[in-house]
């Protein structure tokens, strides 16, 4: 995979293979896990934020598993049954003994669905898995967005700034998001022993 420009990295949060490239935006929040907080509440908070930012670009994304997409999960965001974003979490104790939760999302802003599906399927094949991702169940903001998206040339950084503004995050946007500026493009996986 690395030789093809898609090195594989293992992530701590859950889920399957998730392709990451210059046209995707990754966002992660990290918070103390206060008593009574649930996995669902954390997913819903980030989901709501992403939905608001997508809505700015003319997209109404619905929550639900897109079974034939990469890394399917109950908090996938889809437009007409085509996945545009997905989320995962990791709960752990930090060095100070405080339980924390990281909630992450990967949003496809302008990667071609066929390219992403091909990368994931090559990984599946190489790993001996029968799982397959179908490009017909993927989309991007560039493909599905309204006039505002179409009129924005650098859509990924613009989307990051919009997301940050909705979240009330200040300062250097890049400090809140991972910025993919070109190859190599990692294929993010979750470790399973």
């Amino acid at each position: 995979m690395a030789a093809a420009g898609w090195p594989v990295v293992l992530r701590k949060s859950g889920g399957g293979a998730c392709p990451v490239g210059p046209g995707t935006v990754q966002v992660a929040t990290i918070e103390p896990a206060i008593d009574g907080v649930t996995m669902n509440a954390k997913y819903e908070a980030l989901r709501n934020l992403i939905q608001s930012a997508l809505h700015f670009y003319g997209v109404c994304a619905q929550t639900g598993t897109v079974a034939h997409a990469y890394c399917p999960g109950g908090y996938d965001l889809a437009i007409h049954d085509k996945k545009i974003a997905g989320m995962s979490q990791h709960w752990f104790r930090n060095r100070g003994g405080i339980r924390c939760v990281i909630t992450t999302a990967s949003i496809n802003i302008e990667e071609e669905p066929a390219v992403l599906a091909d990368v994931v399927n090559r990984f599946y094949s190489g790993a001996g898995s029968l799982a397959r991702c179908l490009p017909a169940f993927l989309t991007s903001l560039r493909l599905s967005g309204g006039a505002t998206a179409v009129a924005t040339p650098d859509l990924a950084p613009a989307f990051m700034k919009r997301l940050a503004s909705f979240a009330g995050w200040h300062g250097d946007v890049a400090s809140h998001f991972s910025v993919n500026s070109g190859p190599p493009s990692p294929l993010s996986l979750t470790r399973h022993n």
Partner: protein, 80 residues
Amino acid sequence: MADVVVPEGLWDTEKTPEGIVANWFARDGNAVDAGATIAELMVEKTTYEITAPVAGRLRILTAKDGVVRPGSVIARIEES
């Protein structure tokens, strides 16, 4: 003897009825320290690290890939 418990109410079981023990990081019978990460759950694309509530000898009740729900007792620790 202390129970190693999946926290009550950790997830909405109406949406996701159950999870699994994805990994054990200590073997049955091993001595574990209080606060050590001894297992990992997987629920709805969430990895959840389970830590030992006390020090002692681990007795695993739910094997790797076994099903868990909020409140499940997945192991006990014989306090030393």
